[in-house]
């Protein structure tokens, strides 16, 4: 039987004023397993701690129960004291006789009886305790950043600047992400590529950033400090090491196809880059549209390439990398507005989405920065912007606000007015949400200086009349039906998670919300962490956000990574779940209740059993309850321990009744 010592604290008058400390000590001395019981004025004081240390040594104690204040106050203090005397620190238990006894009860006898019961319970728990060792996990000081947009680049730069290696994985052939598609940025109207391009170049030449573009994460194993990631690089059919980026191939390629980057308003070649300033400046072959892949002949690119870099035989390659932390910065998509038939998107060429309008504004865009409508290339005289297309629309499953649309729509109206001084912009809106430094002022300028006409209401229908689009809606302020004849209609479509966000979340064992945005560990206190230790979020993967917020969050994520990397080794609480494999039936009822996806399958003998990854487990214990057979145990809070506590607390000895 373990030898248990009990030390009862007076806490001056705080405990001893209400609880008969001597009586508690005497009662403790008579409890089974207790070989030492003493009381002391202030156990947390240095002499008090010394009392504990001496008792551990002199009485050969296996466990210590301190009856004192709440464990949130001094559990750590007493554990350290015990450890100093050579006792396993996890064999110290606190009976909370101050906050939950002496401070809340007045009757001395009742409080004393309760204090005895609380001590009894902790003695019972301590008797059934195993010594636990803190988990020590090594740290691979190398980060993986998924996503080469502004968020991913910022995070990668911050981590790399601090001196650590970064692996930056981007699915597209080049860096830049969504921001590369933008023309100007609100509220300053500085040109997007002017701020982005230097950043991409910086990232590309950073000595500690390894760039893996045109690549995707396929598998993630391991846990914080020691993730094993498999990354696939898609075949570009161009040997990028040989390629010198002269783009002759792009120039000579006979095949022109609509460019998704330009929202299909412009064209690209079957070989080449998405946009001129692309980093890395290396072409890929669009296998679906390449004549050679289609028909087996052409090979113009092969012929014009001065360095014989074109390689139709290239295959996907997969590499495994070890990293200690992961930043997810995969960004967002915009809703395909096809589902909004009432606006005629897809049917009428002059109904476009905001991203397309960005391209029309961009000097590198399909129109060279002149706003021309897609149908006939005419400069529109009246443009209607419709906000909240798909956002704030619970009926269609997206109740959330996309947050950025109010501002970019104001920006669009402003830019339009700059470029078409006699044009008129109309904005149908629900509310204008312009919280942000200089945002409200920007909207005001759009209204007052750019003369945009803001109409509060939802648009009911858009239909063609002649060569114009008739936009019909209700102005909810006046109650009047409003009809505007427009040359161009721009839809501010909802920002939505990437189409494959959920699959990636599954690989990463990160939770998502109902829409597919990634869940943060705590909405207020841990906004850049996920429930999986070592995986952090940056940017719109978590929720729609604008550039400045994205960059701030990316730096936040980077600082979390740096905090992780600054540790010698990661120390984790040993209070984690553990499987008794002889009793586990392998039913895996434990798996769905684990918020950390810490439970996986292991083959033990001839059958599959559950196994807990102690690096992922956070010790909530839900699995131990889901397990019917009791094969799953939560260390430090085992069934035996809790049942023993319950039994001790139910005991009626010397108490009234």
């Amino acid at each position: 039987m373990p030898r248990i010592g009990v030390v009862v604290c007076w806490c001056g008058h705080n405990i001893a004023g209400t609880v008969d400390v001597t009586q508690v000590t005497a009662a403790a001395a008579a409890m089974p397993g207790v070989v030492y019981a003493e009381d002391y004025k202030y156990v947390c004081s240095e002499p008090g701690q010394d009392l504990i240390r001496r008792a551990i040594a002199d009485k050969r104690l296996d466990a210590v129960v301190v009856a004192a204040c709440s464990p949130s106050m001094h559990e750590a203090t007493f554990r350290q004291a015990a450890a100093a005397a050579g006792l396993n620190p996890y064999r110290v238990e606190i009976a909370n006789v101050r906050e939950q006894c002496s401070w809340v009860h007045r009757d001395r006898e009742e409080a004393t009886v309760k204090a005895v019961a609380l001590v009894q319970a902790m003695v019972a728990k301590a008797r059934r305790e195993e010594p636990l060792e803190a988990l020590r996990l090594p740290v691979t000081r190398r980060a993986l950043v998924i996503g080469g947009g502004i968020a991913g680049m910022q995070a990668a730069m911050d981590i790399a600047d601090a001196g650590y290696q970064v692996l930056l994985v981007e699915r597209e052939p080049n860096l830049g992400g969504r921001m590369a598609q933008l023309s100007e940025t609100f509220p300053t109207l500085d040109c997007a590529s002017c701020i982005l391009t230097p950043r991409t170049a910086e990232v590309a030449r950073h000595p500690r950033i390894e760039l893996l573009t045109y690549s995707e994460v396929r598998e993630v194993a391991g846990y914080v400090g020691d993730f094993r990631v498999r990354i696939a690089r898609k075949p570009a059919y161009v040997d990028w090491d040989r390629c010198i980026g002269c783009m002759l191939c792009q120039e000579k390629c006979p095949r022109k196809v609509p460019s998704p980057f330009e929202r299909d308003m412009g064209f690209k070649k079957a070989i080449g880059v998405n946009f001129p300033q692309a980093v890395p400046n290396r072409p890929v072959i669009d296998r679906e549209h390449c004549t050679y892949f289609e028909k087996g002949k052409c090979q113009v690119c092969v012929r014009v390439c001065p360095v014989e870099a074109v390689d139709f035989e290239q295959r996907e390659t997969v590499r495994e990398e070890a990293v200690g932390a992961i930043v997810v910065a995969t960004g967002f998509d915009v809703l395909a507005p096809a589902e909004f038939g009432e606006y005629g998107y897809g049917r009428y060429p002059d109904v476009i989405d905001s991203l397309a309008f960005e391209r029309l504004n961009s000097s590198s865009g399909p129109t060279g920065g002149v706003i021309r409508r897609p149908s006939d290339g005419r400069v529109p005289r009246e443009v209607v912007f419709i906000q909240c297309v798909g956002s704030r629309d619970p009926d269609r499953g997206r109740g959330y606000c996309s947050k950025i649309c109010c501002m970019y729509t104001a920006k669009h109206a402003m830019l339009y007015r700059h470029k078409v001084p006699d044009g008129q912009a109309y904005v149908f809106y629900m509310d204008v949400r312009a919280g942000g430094k200089g945002y409200e002022e920007f909207v005001q300028r759009t209204v007052e200086q750019a003369g945009a006409l803001y109409l509060r209401g939802r648009v009911a229908r858009v239909y063609p009349e002649g060569d114009r689009m008739l936009v019909r809606g209700v102005d909810t302020l006046s109650g009047q039906t409003v009809e505007v004849a427009a040359d161009l209609v721009v839809l501010a479509t909802a920002a939505v998670p990437r189409g494959d966000a959920r699959e990636l979340a599954q690989l990463l064992k990160v939770g998502t919300d109902a829409h597919g945005f990634y869940n943060e560990a705590h909405p207020k206190l841990r906004p850049v962490e996920t429930m999986t230790r070592g995986i952090f979020l940056a940017g719109a993967v978590q929720a729609p956000r604008d550039i400045s917020e994205t960059v701030a969050q990316a730096s936040g994520a980077a600082s979390k990574v740096l905090a992780l990397f600054s540790q010698e080794e990661l120390v984790a609480d040993p209070l984690v779940a553990v499987v008794d494999e002889t009793r586990c039936a392998g039913c895996f009822l434990c798996r769905p209740v684990c918020p950390y996806q810490a439970i996986s399958t292991r083959v033990a003998g001839n059958r599959e059993v559950a196994t807990v990854n102690p690096g992922l487990c956070q010790g909530c214990g839900a699995c131990a309850v889901a397990c019917r057979s009791g094969a799953m145990a939560l260390k430090g809070f085992t069934d035996e321990q809790i049942l023993a506590e319950v039994e001790a607390l139910c005991l009626r000895t010397g108490s009234p009744g």
Binding site: S72, Q100, A111, N519, V593, Q618, G619, A622, V646, C650
Partner: protein, 140 residues
């Protein structure tokens, strides 16, 4: 039943919310009856329904299962499983004949010391009215 009989309440308290709430009641010196004794658990999701039955078996007159408010779980979802489990278990124990007042499931946050004290007062009153529990209880 002697007139000074006091009920015995075993409370399972999640360490992040309810246990901290009870501590707050202490630091705020909110007085409540000395009927409750808490078992500190990491999460209300750690509370095996059989723990509750064991408490009644061994002589508890009332049991409180308490954790963070839904949405505030330190482990995100533990209390949402608790909600499902104990929605069923409470009804089931009543189905077996237990008075509804004897088992309470409550969400008490770390800031709700006042509420913790209030819940204990209410439960104590209810249980005093009901008297000692004999159901499902082993012979002492």
């Amino acid at each position: 039943m002697s007139s000074d009989w006091q009920p015995r309440i075993v409370g399972f308290a999640c360490r992040w919310c309810t246990y901290a709430g009870a501590d707050l009641a202490g630091t705020s010196r909110l007085e409540y009856p000395a009927t409750v004794r808490l078992v500190r658990v990491p999460c209300s999701g750690r509370v095996n329904p059989s723990f509750v039955l064991r408490a009644f078996q061994r002589g508890a007159d009332g049991v409180l299962v308490a954790g963070c408010h839904p949405g505030d779980c330190h482990y995100t979802s533990g209390n949402l499983f608790t909600r499902r489990r104990f929605s069923l278990v409470k009804r089931f124990l009543e189905y077996l004949g237990l008075e509804p007042e004897r088992l309470r499931v409550e969400w008490i946050s770390a800031a709700e010391g006042q509420r913790f004290a209030q819940v204990i007062r209410e439960m104590t009153d209810d249980l005093c009215r009901l008297g000692p529990n004999r159901k499902m209880r082993e012979e002492p």
